[in-house]
């Protein structure tokens, strides 16, 4: 199967993720969408790596996972603290600062 299709899939996933960030309210979900985008990137990396026949892409994928994990740690910490003080994880509720 033509590996380029994987690229299309990656692009699709990325778009879905992005769309999710734009439309979902729940901070956790938004955050998951971001993760989805990152994974889309990973897919792209791996696919390109295969195409180019060098392993850089695959290595990068690992790095990305690590970074994503770190992000999860930090992100969840922040979101949880926000949730605890507001009793809501809706991104839209957190709009004290505007204009």
């Amino acid at each position: 199967m033509n590996p380029v299709n994987y690229l299309y899939l990656a692009a699709l996933l990325f778009t879905i993720g992005a769309a999710g960030v734009l439309i979902r309210r729940n901070a956790i979900v938004v955050f998951m969408c971001v993760e989805l985008m990152l994974n889309a990137c990973n897919l792209a990396f791996v696919c390109f790596s295969r195409l180019h026949g060098n392993l850089d892409g695959q290595v990068i994928a690992f790095f990305t996972m690590v970074v994503a994990a770190a992000e999860v740690v930090v992100g969840l910490a922040i979101i949880v603290s926000l949730f605890r003080s507001r009793h809501s994880a809706s991104v839209d509720d957190a709009s004290l600062m505007k204009l």
Binding site: D56, A94, L96, K98
Partner: protein, 550 residues
């Protein structure tokens, strides 16, 4: 650690000679600045773990200041050793560039960071609570605002000394960011300095809800943008088959021919290049705070603890612009015809947008946020110049701007009322009567922002505009001039408020800070005036540092 290093490991292994694994070749001495800071950060964590609570603060402050100073010394040493000019080269197996811009920016970041750490460590502004000195960070980040646990934490005199290691981590990331020489390092560095900043934003002692909100917004949007960046990287990798700047640059400039017909779909496919490049640009412009990727800036600047805001506003911008410069001047010069028009547009709307929206702001921190956006626009004008002067002028501007910013935010921390910092402009009325000195200092910073001659702001602005004009971007200069005129209006508004309007009865008091903040402010003023009156030495420095290694 870079991807190509790993790659070489793999290949050697594939040849079956498993008996010896060649160690990657790392020039530790040349990476010293970063390594020192990272090391200090790790030590800082250990300190958190093992040192008794009451002495942590002192240990942490000492540790971070010493580390940063040492790192700065290392930078100076490297520069003196000629690594900025003649011996400039790519270190760490192609991951890190050690050259003029890198060293200059690292130096700037480190100095700014030292000053910022001073403001972090300030503990005299708030009244002593339960016999404990308190700084501007939450007693216990985990405890819910207003809850009993928080009260207990305050009573117990907890302090979040983790901010220092966090800051150090962020700094280390920032040090790598402008010197990253492949896209992976770029990405990692970005995350390394972003994640701690997200946390720092959430740690304000007062107005914690706003602080947490700022953190959430910053985090989500930051992650969002970094995802774009990463995808851009992926596309570029697909385009060039490598993430190292040099290779990409070669492919872009077409000096490397398409070797493998099987790769016709990707190798040298301009669509990949353009989209990827654009997405990476977007990721960087987000950090820079350029319109339309600026919208996080006001909220985050307002919500974050003011020392953190100052730190972000100064250091992040420096790092981000460094990376942007390297990307545009090293990786994508071949396609400058594609990105210049785009950057033109971005620069113009950034300058105008920032200046115009700032006019109607009522919160001093938001005001400064918008002003920082406008300034990002000015710097972009220099970036677009695409000539040697462009690089040096941007370097100079960043140096000048960062100190003014930290100083300005440091002054903001001084003006306080019952609810902590009094950031609403109306509270600042008549400040000039209450404490002429503070008002005068702040006025100096504002004038520098406004680009009045004899301040660093003017020298910087002149430098970038001159570079832009020489680079054939005369129109940008005109727009810049117009928007500076608009910007002047709101800086002046603040001055009028401070000096010409009668002080309110329930106005804020001006806290008398410890020498730490005083130093921060003093350095800010000194740099502002020196760079304003006699900038030649620093211009030379920026000039000699203005060459990227390839």
């Amino acid at each position: 650690m870079s991807s190509s290093a790993v790659h070489s490991l793999w290949t050697t292994a594939a040849e079956g000679k498993l008996d010896k694994i060649p160690a990657p070749h790392i020039e530790y001495a040349q990476l010293a600045p970063t390594l020192i800071v990272v090391g200090a950060a790790i030590v800082g964590i250990l300190v958190e773990a093992f040192v008794p609570r009451r002495s942590r603060y002192y240990v942490q402050v000492f540790l971070s200041v010493v580390a940063l100073a040492a790192a700065f010394a290392a930078v100076v040493g490297l520069a003196a050793g000629g690594y900025g000019t003649t011996k400039a080269h790519i270190a760490a197996m192609g991951a890190i560039a050690v050259d003029g811009p890198a060293l200059f920016l690292q130096g700037t970041i480190l100095l700014a960071s030292i000053v910022a750490v001073f403001t972090f460590a300030e503990r005299r502004l708030d009244p002593v609570a339960h016999g404990n000195k308190v700084d501007s960070f939450a007693a216990q980040a985990a405890s819910v605002p207003g809850s009993d646990s928080e009260k207990a934490a305050v009573k117990a005199g907890f302090t979040t000394t983790e901010v220092f290691p966090l800051a150090l981590f962020a700094i280390s990331g920032m040090l790598v960011f402008p010197s990253a020489n492949d896209l992976l390092t770029l990405f990692v560095a970005l995350e390394v300095f972003s994640l701690p900043l997200y946390l720092l934003c959430a740690l304000a002692r007062r107005k914690r809800l706003m602080s947490q909100e700022a953190a959430v917004k910053y985090f989500l949007l930051g992650a969002f943008s970094s995802a774009f960046l990463l995808f851009g990287i992926a596309l570029l990798y697909g385009y060039a088959g490598s993430v190292s700047y040099a290779t990409i640059a070669d492919v872009v400039s077409g000096s490397v021919q398409n070797v493998n017909p099987a790769l016709a779909g990707t190798m040298g496919n301009d669509a990949l290049l353009l989209i990827g490049g654009a997405m990476i640009l977007m990721g960087l412009l987000f950090k820079v705070g350029a319109v339309p990727f600026h919208m996080w800036t006001p909220d985050v600047y307002q919500g974050a603890p003011t020392p953190v805001t100052g730190f972000m506003a100064a250091a992040t911008k420096v790092a981000a612009f460094g990376a942007l410069l390297r990307l545009l001047y090293v990786v994508l010069p071949g396609m400058s015809w594609d990105w210049r028009p785009v950057m033109w547009g971005v620069a113009i709307i950034t300058m105008l947008g920032g200046a115009v929206v700032a006019i109607t702001q009522t919160d001093i921190k938001r005001l400064l946020a918008y002003s920082s956006i406008a300034h990002a626009g000015f710097i972009l004008a220099g970036v677009i110049a695409t000539n040697a002067d462009g690089i040096s002028s941007v370097l100079f501007y960043l140096g000048a701007y960062s100190f003014v910013t930290i100083g300005a935010f440091a002054v903001v921390t001084l003006v306080r009322d019952a609810g902590g910092e009094a950031t609403h402009l109306s509270k600042w009325a008549g400040l000039g009567r209450r404490s002429p000195l503070v008002a005068a200092v702040f006025a100096v910073f504002l004038l520098a922002f406004a680009g009045i001659p004899l301040t660093s702001g003017f020298s910087g602005k002149f430098a970038v505009f001159k570079a832009a004009a020489e680079g054939g971007a005369g129109a940008l200069v005109v727009v810049g001039v117009v928007s500076s005129a608009v910007a002047a209006f709101f800086y002046i508004r603040v001055i009028v408020l401070m000096f010409f309007s009668e002080p309110k009865a329930d106005g804020p008091t001006v806290a008398v800070p410890s020498p730490l903040t005083m130093t921060a402010i003093g350095v800010g003023v000194a740099v502002t005036l020196v760079l304003g009156v006699a900038p030649q030495y620093f211009l030379d420095l920026a000039h000699s540092a203005g060459v990227f290694v390839r």
